[in-house]
């Protein structure tokens, strides 16, 4: 009896501690959230917690309730049962218009306002919140720089932008008033695969800087694994598995998750590794532009290398010299103005794929702003894996 009540007490205090801990740890909490459309249950007693500063991916087949779940967070959809808390406060205790102004929102069609300039689009929420115009100007410039758009874009209109540029503006607009939480509904869905990969990389780099709590809806499992700190797999309004990418890849909860992941699970695991972690420590020759071809040739032969990279004054990659054996003992030096490269945040499988398709065993690695970070070597990557 005695020990029993002690146990209960202990458990009670533990629970209390957990609750307090949770309040600080989780930015968004969904408890038993249910949504019905007529007789259809779209979301069925869903429980999810999103940690501060992380990306949570919601994935599942279309109609599984992932978008509905997301839209309940900013009250675009009313929930029928359950509770949603944002930093400890129920979203139903906040006026919906005010609530939405504190949450960034990006949708697939992006929904840039066609009659607003890029500047005015990005300034939308700050203006709704009646910020000072000079503060807004500073913020817009900051955000354009963050999404790597030149400041000359500020006065263009959405019709004058490419799909990728619109996407960047859409992200900048969602970050306008520096919200803590960002909701993204298949934001890269309408972008072609090549540009989508580029956007993923800049998105991750931006997230490294801003550390927002992001809820991201997608139907692309590769996207989910690549971007998500955690992945929530949803089917018929129910949570099937909620774990980090590694856990999902190596321990799929059931057949449904296995099928979603596909046959190439171990290759997909490569998407969990970042190119920057494989930058070779061996020497690489970098040069500035002024140097002559003869000097480069001499330098390369001295150091017994076949490639050298040319960097501009800002450390950006601007070219590549490489040696080619033409005839016996005859070496020719070539120059390439736009060498094949990979970005540091590319996944390892993207970089390997670039290597395979170009036949290069050595690739230069750059960051989002094209700054040279080092090189990756095929044999070095293999050695790392065999360790």
């Amino acid at each position: 009896m005695m020990s029993d009540s002690n146990m209960n007490e202990k458990q009670a205090t533990e629970n209390k501690e957990n609750e307090q801990g949770e309040n600080q740890k989780y930015t968004i909490e969904l408890k038993n959230v249910t949504k019905r459309f007529g007789n259809d249950v779209a979301v069925d007693k869903l429980n999810l917690q999103m940690e501060k500063g992380t990306i949570t991916m919601l994935i599942g087949p279309s109609g599984c309730g992932k978008t509905t779940t997301m839209k309940m967070i900013n009250r675009l959809v009313q929930l029928d049962e359950g509770e949603i808390k944002l930093e400890g406060t129920s979203v139903y205790d906040i006026d919906p218009v005010q609530l939405r102004r504190t949450i960034g929102y990006v949708i697939q069609e992006i929904g840039l306002f066609p009659h607003f300039t890029v500047y005015d689009n990005i300034a939308t929420v700050p203006r709704l919140l009646k910020w000072d115009e000079s503060k807004i100007k500073k913020r817009v410039e900051e955000l354009l720089d963050m999404v790597t758009l030149d400041s000359s874009y500020a006065y263009r209109y959405p019709l004058q932008l490419s799909g990728g540029e619109r996407q960047r503006v859409g992200l900048a607009r969602a970050l306008g008033a520096d919200p803590e939480v960002l909701l993204m509904d298949e934001p890269f869905g309408a972008i072609d695969p090549i540009n989508r990969l580029k956007l993923h990389d800049s998105f991750l780099e931006i997230q490294d800087e801003i550390k927002k709590t992001i809820v991201f809806v997608t139907h692309d499992i590769n996207e989910a694994i690549k971007l998500g700190d955690k992945v929530a797999i949803i089917r018929d309004g129910k949570l099937v598995q909620y774990a980090n990418s590694t856990e999902i890849l190596y321990n799929p909860a059931n057949k449904f998750v296995e099928n979603l992941l596909g046959q190439d699970r171990s290759l997909k695991a490569l998407t969990l590794k970042r190119t920057k972690d494989f930058i070779s420590s061996e020497d690489t020759i970098t040069l500035d532009k002024e140097i002559s071809e003869e000097e480069v040739l001499k330098l390369l032969q001295e150091k017994d290398q076949i490639v050298a990279f040319v960097l501009d004054e800002n450390g950006k990659l601007s070219g590549r010299y490489w040696l080619e054996k033409t005839r016996k003992d005859k070496v020719e030096i070539n120059y390439d103005e736009s060498p094949i490269l990979t970005e540091q945040n590319n996944t390892l499988n993207e970089s390997l794929s670039t290597m395979f398709s170009s036949g290069e065993k050595l690739l230069p690695v750059v960051n989002r702003r094209n700054k040279f970070m080092g090189v990756i070597r095929l044999n070095h990557i293999f050695e790392e894996f065999n360790k």
């Binding site: 939405r100 929102y105 949708i107 069609e109 992006i110 306002f113 066609p114 929420v125 959405p158």
Partner: protein, 215 residues
Amino acid sequence: MNLFQYISENFNKIMELFVEHFFLFLFSIIITTIIGVSLSIIATDEGREKIGKTILSITGAAQAVPSIAVIALVFIYVGIGKTPTIISLIIYSLVPVIFNATSGILSVPKGVIEAGKGMGFTKNQILWKLKIPIAVPVIMGGIRSAATIIIGTAVIASVIGGGGLGDLIFTGLKLNRPEALVAGAASSAILAIIIDRILGYVEKIITPKGLKVEK
């Protein structure tokens, strides 16, 4: 008697009718725009998209109703004079205004509205900052066709005592004086052209720049 002689002899009378015609037009277009655009805004409000679409098909079909039928009906129920004339002009010209305003507002991309709502625009802000500005070119198109229709229909409405340039035309018809008829028809055509030019200019000014840019 030739046309120019007729015009110079009756210049004051023609100008008087021209001004009268213009004011018939002005009253009608202002009221028809206010009523038509308001109705369209109400019909296209969130959750009422079905009503909007029904209105589109009704007004689409109503464009085929002849103006004389509307004038005759108003005559039967209201009588003769300026007021019945303006009423019939408003009823007849509401059709293109409502049709265009409704289809203009309904064709604002859904993503734009959803993004606006999701970022914390109020209902009014969605209407006045997003829907209306983006629909402006289409709404103005409706107002321009309404203007042309009003000026043309006002000529016929002179049979119920509306006055204006129609008087000249019907006088010419009754007295078999083609000069009067031509002078009346030409004047109303000139009025229609001037008004359309002015409205075209207004449309150009109030259409947001972002909707007109080259890709």
